[in-house]
């Protein structure tokens, strides 16, 4: 195989996979601009074989001509959107707070609680990853009812924190391990307490890791469906639950559904495109050790 042919094959394979990865996004977005007949006739290219229309966005109240009009659907959508944002940002923030503290402790100190050493504590936290949501869903249903946390955003925040905490601890421990501890030692000699050294010196240096852990957590929480569908009903319902409830109903307009799906994934696409670096950093924490 000659070198040029080899390179051509590499690019061909890359392009094929890029199409596989991107076509569903294109399809969803373009379908939101189609009328029924364009969908059923399998038209794909705008202007060439179908005329783009705002129909799907109109029914969501998000098209240019309806954006300033009152729209119940849009209010509903925005309510779900805000719920999703609060639950995922809140869960991610709490997880980064708790996780960073724990990760710093595990990275710097030697713990001894009875037979438990650092290794065992780390394993305790990481092993939570194994726990499938179903195991917690039923007990939480009953417990949240008793605690009056069912269908509240606080309830979702707590459970999302739990869900991403192991990942945050993993990312942050890796981050703290890369920060040399001579600087803190110097601060301690100067009379800083360990909490003071942590807050004033280490934390600013660990900021990239915290950002990565936070963004990864936000994405995972934003997409969460299982708990949200079981533990929320009316008030705290999140975007994935709304999307899912629409797909379930028969005979839904394709353009509306496509517009809804596009609006629901748009923030994630933006995060993926502009903050890819942090996502990758979060996912590859600890790789190459």
């Amino acid at each position: 195989m000659t070198r040029t042919a080899g390179r051509a094959l590499i690019y061909l394979a890359l392009i094929v996979w890029a199409i596989i990865a991107l076509f569903p996004l294109y399809w969803t977005f373009s379908t939101s601009m189609k009328l029924g007949r364009d969908v059923t006739q399998g038209h794909l290219i705008p202007w060439l074989d179908f005329a783009p229309s705002w129909k799907g966005w109109q029914s969501l109240g998000l098209s240019p001509d309806t954006i300033f009009a009152t729209s119940n659907v849009r209010d509903e959508f925005l309510k779900r959107f805000v719920n999703s944002a609060i639950a995922s940002l809140g869960g991610a923030a709490l997880a980064v707070l708790l996780g960073s503290l724990a990760a710093y402790g595990l990275s710097r100190f030697d713990y001894k609680f009875g037979p438990w050493r650092n290794k065992d504590i780390s394993f305790f936290f990481l092993s939570q990853l194994i726990l499938p949501p179903v195991v917690l869903a039923m007990p939480f249903l009953v417990l949240y009812k008793a605690l009056a946390l069912l269908d509240t955003r606080i309830g979702l925040i707590l459970i999302y924190t739990l869900m991403v905490l192991p990942i945050v601890i993993w990312v942050m421990r890796d981050q703290f391990d890369t920060i040399p501890n001579e600087i803190e030692q110097a601060a301690l000699v100067d009379g800083c307490t360990i909490w003071g050294a942590f807050l004033r010196i280490v934390l600013p240096m660990a900021l990239p890791g915290m950002v990565a852990a936070f963004i990864l957590s936000v994405v995972l929480c934003w997409n969460e469906y299982f708990f949200a569908s079981l533990l929320t009903g009316f008030d705290a319902q999140t975007l994935p639950v709304m999307v899912a409830s629409q797909t379930g109903s028969q005979g839904i307009n394709w353009w509306t559904m496509a517009a809804l799906a596009t609006a629901a994934i748009a923030p994630l696409i933006l995060i993926g495109v502009f903050l890819e670096r942090y996502i990758v950093m979060g996912l590859t924490a600890g790789a190459g050790k």
Partner: protein, 365 residues
């Protein structure tokens, strides 16, 4: 990990400070127990004094946690300050996982059904017996085997793509972002984009493509094998990026000189891959696969939203089965039993898996 760790310096703490720490903790414990007792008595209808719900117990637990941390610092000085780092995450996890799981065990041995009357009774091993005879449970467990096995295919594809991304190419940034995007989407959105629209039998583009290739009446969710494969394809589409990212990071961390040496020795690309790259990548590979298997065991959202486990349970996962058991039949007791049994099976499976492969893995704890 950084080499030298801190030793907590033993400073002299005044007796008053230690006593204060001790009393603070005792007072908080008394408060917590008192709140629990008041509410338990009220719930049991022994007394009428109490709160409308159990939320105050949660607040009392938070207060108790803060008091525990403060008393650690008061009693043990610097060692206590060190403990205070780990305490919040630990108390949180304990309250959110250990307690509910144990509580769930209690539910699992009852005939609790939210449709029936409010009472629920301990019914011994009945749920376990039902489970043993439940063909749907075993079917779902078998499907989990299938889904986990597809990780091997996902890994192979991801490794290939990671190698391509690691090659000397233009536009790497574009391809990396493009390859990552599926991972960012919610399974619910994927369920609609793929399952409900692109795989629509009559005019979905995937169906059109297969008609073009020569499959006359493409139907992706009517025969068991094809339905299961379709679910696996959607799931793989979302998760292959995760494997790509991990494997690419591994490839980029490989020492260059080893490959160069192999090339100088006259090894072909193929030989270099199997003789050098693949063995060196083993730790990253095994770690990525183990993580992926763990996530695969939670597969639920796509199945729930695309097929609801159908046709005839062919695509069911344990999670989606439990979901329907609760949603359609409100069978909380039995559903919890399935979930707890599944947890035990997962723990056994993952422990065995780790025992076999952990010496090939990257250090995790």
């Amino acid at each position: 990990m950084s080499g030298a760790k801190y030793e907590a310096t033993a400073t002299h703490l005044s007796a008053g400070r230690v006593a204060l720490g001790r009393w603070l903790f005792r007072a908080a414990t008394v408060l917590l127990l008192a709140v629990i007792a008041i509410q338990a008595l009220k719930t049991a209808a022994v007394t009428s004094v109490g709160f409308p719900d159990w939320l105050p117990v949660l607040y009392a637990y938070v207060v108790w946690g803060v008091a525990l941390g403060a008393s650690q610092v008061l009693k043990y000085g610097e060692a206590g300050q060190q403990t205070a780092f780990i305490l919040p995450a630990f108390l949180f996890t304990a309250a959110m996982v250990i307690f509910p799981t144990l509580f769930g065990l209690g539910i699992a041995f009852t005939d609790w059904n939210l449709n029936g009357d409010a009472h629920h009774n301990f019914n011994g091993l009945n749920n376990l017996r039902t489970l043993w005879a439940d063909a749907y449970f075993w079917n779902a467990l078998g499907n989990m085997g299938f889904y986990v096995a597809t990780v091997a295919v996902q890994y192979a594809i991801a490794f290939g793509l990671a190698l391509l991304l690691n090659a000397d190419i233009r536009g790497r940034k574009f391809f990396r972002v493009a390859f990552l995007l599926p991972f960012m989407l919610s399974p619910v959105a994927i369920s609609w984009m793929f399952g409900k629209s692109m795989m629509e039998n009559r005019f979905g583009p995937v169906a059109n493509f297969f008609r073009f290739v020569g499959w006359e009446n493409p139907a992706f969710f009517s025969s068991p094998y094809i339905a299961r494969t379709s679910i696996a394809v959607m799931d793989s589409w979302q998760w292959i990026p995760f494997l790509i990212i991990m494997l690419l990071a591994g490839l980029q961390a490989l020492p260059h000189d080893v490959k160069e040496a192999a090339k100088v020795d006259g090894a072909t690309e193929w030989q270099t891959f199997w003789g050098v790259t693949f063995p060196l990548m083993l730790p990253v590979s095994v770690t990525a696969i183990v993580l992926r298997v763990i996530f695969e065991l939670k597969l639920a959202d796509i199945v729930i939203n695309v097929t609801s486990g159908g046709p005839g349970g062919a695509t069911d996962t344990i999670s989606s089965f439990v979901f329907r058991e609760y949603r359609d039949r409100s069978n909380v007791g039995y559903a919890t039993m399935i979930a707890e049994v599944y947890l035990v099976l997962i723990i056994i499976f993952v422990t065995l898996l780790l025992r076999v492969v952990s010496r090939y893995m990257q250090r995790m704890t």
